[in-house]
């Protein structure tokens, strides 16, 4: 069973469908599946719903699919830094479902773990709780949040082996493992596919069972807020 594909487009061949729900990894522009997003743009798939913490910026990440009007709805926790998003949202062209960041991450993990619903204190007493089931446990009130079961997951990792075992790097891990877990099909893009046996089995962040297709590519890895400090002179 070969999981490795040559290009992002070929790795998405046959799995894209108008109106589908896609879970995407990444936080801000860090650890986003930039090559797969480009390929979805090229494929022209429409009416997409994205479960993704952010919506990219105007010309990078999910932002490029907003420009082409391929996105119908976002399930996100934070969508600042994206003027086109705001415009489409305020004009009613784009639906937006806000989820608290941790609720979104847990909803993805829950979907991947066969858990259709879980209770959380997050959002109780806020607009987030409106219309959701409330339940008391040991005298405290919680709301029911639902697992996300996506049609497709797209994620970005640092290294992979041919069986799809993935390793992430630093804070680029973020939403990638939960996003990968909750999709019926998961396609991963990585910086390097290494020989089988060269990843430490104790240090694999996402086992290959979650990864159905795999590409290696060159990533721009854009930095959103370049902040530095001065070296003190000795």
């Amino acid at each position: 069973m070969k999981k490795i594909y040559d290009t992002a487009s070929s790795a998405l061949d046959g799995v894209l469908q108008d109106g589908m729900l896609i879970a995407a990894g990444g936080f801000g522009l860090c650890g986003i599946p930039e090559l797969l997003l480009e390929a979805i743009k090229d494929a022209g798939t429409k009416d997409l719903t994205f479960a993704s913490n952010n919506a990219g910026v105007d010309d990078f990440g999910i932002g490029i699919l907003l420009q082409t009007r391929q996105v119908k709805k976002m399930i996100s926790s934070y969508v600042g830094e994206n003027a086109e998003f705001m415009r489409q949202y305020l004009s009613g062209e784009l639906e937006l479902e806000f989820n608290p960041q941790g609720t979104l991450a847990e909803r993805m993990r829950a979907g991947g773990c066969g858990i259709p619903g879980f209770y959380t204190k997050t959002g109780v007493g806020t607009v987030i709780a409106e219309g959701k089931e409330h339940k008391d446990f040991d005298g405290e009130t919680y709301i029911l949040e639902r697992g996300i079961f996506a049609d497709l997951s797209i994620v970005k990792a640092w290294k992979a082996d041919e069986t799809g075992n993935l390793v992430f790097r630093k804070t680029a891990r973020n939403f990638n493992p939960p996003a990968a877990m909750c999709g019926k099909v998961c396609v991963a893009e990585v910086e390097e596919i290494v020989p089988l046996g060269s990843l430490d089995p104790d240090s694999i962040h996402l086992p290959g069972i979650y990864v159905h297709r795999l590409i290696q590519g060159t990533h721009e890895k854009r930095i959103e807020q370049r902040t530095v400090r001065k070296k003190e002179t000795a």
Binding site: G102, G123, T126, V127, P177, Q225, K231
Partner: protein
Amino acid sequence: MPWDRNQMAARAAEELEDGMYVNLGIGIPTLVANYVGDKDITLQSENGMLGMGPFPFEGEEDADLINAGKQTITELRRTSYFDSAQSFGMIRGGKIAAAILGAMEVAENGDLANWMIPGKLVKGMGGAMDLVAGVGRVIVVMDHTNKHGDSKLLKECTLPLTGQGVVDRIITNLGVLDVVEGGLKIVETAEGVTEAELHDATEATIV
């Protein structure tokens, strides 16, 4: 004289004790890190990191290493990385001792509003709702009044809530107040600020 941003941050740093795991919000809370001195504090960044270090030196920025404000940062010898589900698991699970956050409004019952102004730009709550619902102690650092001179410490919040009854302590440019039964209680005032001045600048009930 009211405290300036750095004095507020320094005062907030006094809330932190040796061994604490802490999450600092964007803005003044970020400055708190400059005032922890030799206390053994571990900073959490909710995008998946414990043991957040300072900004990198120029040329050493790493696109894979950012904080929750999307700024480039560095790691420390104690650093660990994890995914977002695990990160908010530890937040929701009460493992983070304290969060120091900014706010638009705080109500006398501890309600907090800091994520949305209806009709204006909608950016989203990010991890703020999770933090206020989950961490051990929520400390708000903010100016006592807004640009128009109106109190930000209110009887009731007017903006959509981030959390209900979640704030423990408020540190403003005028002083420090705790959320207690029946309203806010003055813990201390900034040097040169009288309790009367603080009363005058506060809409919330002071008990």
